[in-house]
């Protein structure tokens, strides 16, 4: 162990944190925006459409992200029409390719997560909303989605952590985020231990912060906790709690 080198790495590597965060945040945002309509189609859409969305998520979730990244970055160049089109400016750039791959990947994962959340919204809630005269879009926006989002939050936290870790694949298409910087440093210093351990520590702190943030969000958005229940009880103390009601002994 060379502590001097580790210190060097600790000074150099944080300059890759920016790119890692950009890749993660933009892909998560794009993926989320794409996944909301897809999740609704997957959960409540017509069978044909639902199956189409399932095919998309199945293929994306069933293949390694590395293959997808190489398909976009190296593979698309084989088609002459792609190279001639205006999209070539985007598809030629490793950053855009990485962003596109990560977004599509995140969208597939988030769609499945949100779909499970949407399906576990109690039927009575939507029926109550219908009986209040809300339209279908209003029900989706005001009732179904907020409840489903809250249900899917723990699983979505895993997806956020997975995306931070997945962004390390960008180093394979020459991008210099944390892993890319670390690999470059290793190739000049020949000290893999020190530098990769420092890089790992940086990733660990990023994922820990993400986990803490998601837990905070979960606590903020959670309902049916003690504080709210207590407030309710203060307003209407007459009815006993469900758990306390005594059942006749057999």
């Amino acid at each position: 162990m060379n502590l001097g080198l580790m210190f060097d790495a600790l000074v150099v590597l944080p300059s890759g944190v920016g790119l890692t965060l950009i890749l993660t945040v933009l892909s998560l945002t794009a993926g989320f925006l794409l996944s909301v309509p897809l999740a609704f189609i997957r959960a409540f859409g017509r069978p044909g459409l639902s199956l189409a969305v399932l095919a998309y998520t199945y293929v994306i979730r069933g293949t390694p992200m590395l293959v997808q990244l190489f398909l976009l970055y190296y593979g698309l160049a084989q088609i002459e029409a792609v190279r001639a089109s205006i999209f070539w400016v985007i598809l030629r750039d490793p950053l855009w390719c990485a962003l596109l791959t990560f977004s599509l990947n995140s969208a597939a994962h988030t769609t499945e997560i949100l779909c499970r959340g949407l399906q576990s919204v109690p039927k009575g809630v939507t029926e109550a909303a219908t009986s209040l005269g809300l339209k279908r879009f209003q029900i989706a926006r005001l009732v179904t989605f907020p409840i489903a989002f809250r249900i899917s939050l723990p699983a979505y936290g895993n997806e956020v952590v997975g995306m931070i870790k997945g962004s390390s694949l960008a180093s394979t298409v020459t991008l210099l985020e944390i892993t890319g910087m670390a690999r470059q440093m290793v190739s000049t210093t020949f000290a893999p231990y020190e530098i990769f351990i420092v890089a790992g520590a940086i990733y660990l702190s990023l994922t820990s912060i993400a986990v803490k943030a998601m837990q905070f969000l979960e606590r903020r958005l959670s309902t049916g906790d003690r504080p709210t229940r207590r407030r309710k009880a203060r307003l209407r103390p007459a009815l006993p709690d469900h758990e306390i009601t005594t059942t006749p002994l057999p």
Binding site: L71, K165, T179, V186, Y193, F196, S208
Partner: protein, 219 residues
Amino acid sequence: MGGFTTQFAVALTVTISLAFVSGCLGTAFGLFLAISKGTAQPRLNSVVTAYTTVVRGVPELLIILLIYFGGTTLASKIAGRYVEVNAFTAGVIALSVVFSGYATEVFRGAIAAVPAGQTEAAKSLGLNAWQRWVFIIGPQMLRLALPAYGNLWISLFKDTALVSIVGLTDIMRVAYVGAGSLRAPLTFYLAAAALYLSLTTVTLLSIQLAERRYPALGR
């Protein structure tokens, strides 16, 4: 595709054996850690927690790079001359570490989900600790863990692609070489994607079969 079909066939066996060996090692180690976390003293408990936190919070690619390049440096230092760690060995170690980190959490959750009354009943029947594990907690815990455990295998198959970056000739590596030499990257990466998709599909189907055969008890 030319002569790459046979290469893909060989690479497929490499990928499968890499996944299989690291999956089995990871399962054994994860089971061991989960059991020791459930029973042992708090000191060991926090060590296991630290292990799973670190493994699950660091990119798999970084762990593979660390073990491959770091392992080479370490082995060279010990041997006194340049020794290169085999990419397959490095891959097995790295993927076992990753798998065990996740498996520990899965098994720990499943152990905690077995009702405490089961252990108490087994104790009252006079079974010793070993018998309680093998006959009472083990079978119930494995059934509870099965769905999450199956997902681990699927992501393990996908993670094997990362070992190609340190030079293992698996599916991904053959696709990379073929794409370069025949100048047909789209064809080769699509072939690789299809192979990986069939591997994960087979895994998914066998897990579903196992789930139907061994459903969680009492649910």
